[in-house]
């Protein structure tokens, strides 16, 4: 039974999302700036952040629209670039197996590279996540993304581009910050990550980076299926 003094689970989730928010804010601002400069009106820009909720795709869409690409091309590229979330969703929903289906469907809408990595690594290190905690984490990340896009759009005349450009390392730094502690726990995880880095580099010579990431994730994970130790339930 929960005690009165304890923080609500949802709030704990939002607090756990703070590193993601810090990583998202500059990228969301950068997207808002680019959308405004591309001439996309404010409403579609915000709708895109709310309903598409995928950083790389949105930046790419803005670029493609600026270059005069057609709608179908943009939608297809979005699909390719984000199909990895299907694979990540399979993995995360497998860990959240005991959540009710309606929670799983709702939470799956919030899957991004970052929320996926954060939640699944927490579970892998032995934490028991509740649906409310997970929802707090995902909503925290999502609202930062939307608010950041709005800020970027409104402040686009004021922000010097050099500042937002240096921020693109933020998400990579976060991925590394998530990966390194996991590797300390289980060195085989590092082997899987290194192998899929090599695979992704190889694949990206042959195909678009969205496909390369999907293929490298699937193949690297397959390697782990035979190499990683049995899951302790």
């Amino acid at each position: 039974m929960c005690t009165k003094r304890e923080r609500p689970e949802g709030l704990k989730g939002v607090i756990a999302a703070v590193p993601i928010m810090v990583g998202y804010l500059p990228i969301a601002i950068a997207f808002g700036v680019i959308a405004q400069q591309t001439g996309i009106p404010l409403m579609p820009t915000l709708l895109m952040s709310m309903l598409v909720y995928a950083g790389a795709s949105q930046l790419m869409a803005a670029n493609m629209l600026a270059a005069g690409a057609g709608g179908l091309e943009v939608v297809l590229a979005t699909f390719v670039l984000n199909f990895r979330h299907f694979v990540m969703g399979l993995s995360l929903m497998n860990l959240l197996q005991r959540f009710p289906l309606r929670w799983k469907i709702g939470l799956s809408s919030g899957i991004t590279d970052e929320t996926f990595a954060m939640t699944s690594l927490r579970i892998r290190t032995g934490e028991k996540l509740t649906p409310r905690f997970t929802a707090g984490l995902m909503l925290g990340a999502w609202s930062t993304w939307v608010v950041g896009s709005f800020l970027g759009y409104s402040l686009s005349q004021v922000i010097p581009p050099t500042i937002s450009e240096s921020m693109s390392i933020a998400l990579y730094a976060m991925f590394i910050g998530l990966l390194v502690p996991a590797v300390r726990e289980e060195w085989r995880a590092g082997g899987v990550a290194l192998a899929s880095m090599g695979l992704c580099w190889g694949f990206s010579q042959m195909m678009a980076s969205g496909w390369a990431i999907i293929l490298a994730t699937v193949c690297g994970g397959l390697l782990g299926a035979f190499w990683m130790k049995e899951e302790v339930e």
Partner: protein, 100 residues
């Protein structure tokens, strides 16, 4: 209006796969090796997301992203909180960009 429909199309393209994942997993009892596969995917995904994408942080000089990443890995090795890791990497990249 056109941009609006493109946004709706993009939304379906990103949301339907996410929902499908939740629906598919609940429906099937997965064999042990598939579960081990899915459980390895976070590590594989992190690897693939970081490299070679990190090289494009500064498209003209791939070393900038690489060094930023190495700094992040060293800071993470010292068990620093993730916020410090992010700040350290951003400052490193900003520093290198001003010196370039």
């Amino acid at each position: 209006m056109t941009v609006f429909w493109i946004v709706i199309g993009m939304s379906l393209a990103t949301m339907v796969p996410r929902w499908l994942s939740a629906w598919v997993v609940g429906r099937l009892r997965l064999p042990a090796w598939v579960r081990r596969w899915l459980n390895s995917i976070p590590f594989a995904a992190l690897g693939a997301l970081v490299f070679p994408g990190i090289l494009s942080v500064e498209p003209k000089e791939p070393a900038v992203g690489l060094i930023g990443g190495i700094v992040a890995a060293i800071l993470a090795g010292f068990r620093l909180p993730i916020l410090f890791i992010i700040m350290g990497a951003i400052l490193t990249v900003m520093g290198m960009k001003t010196w370039l």
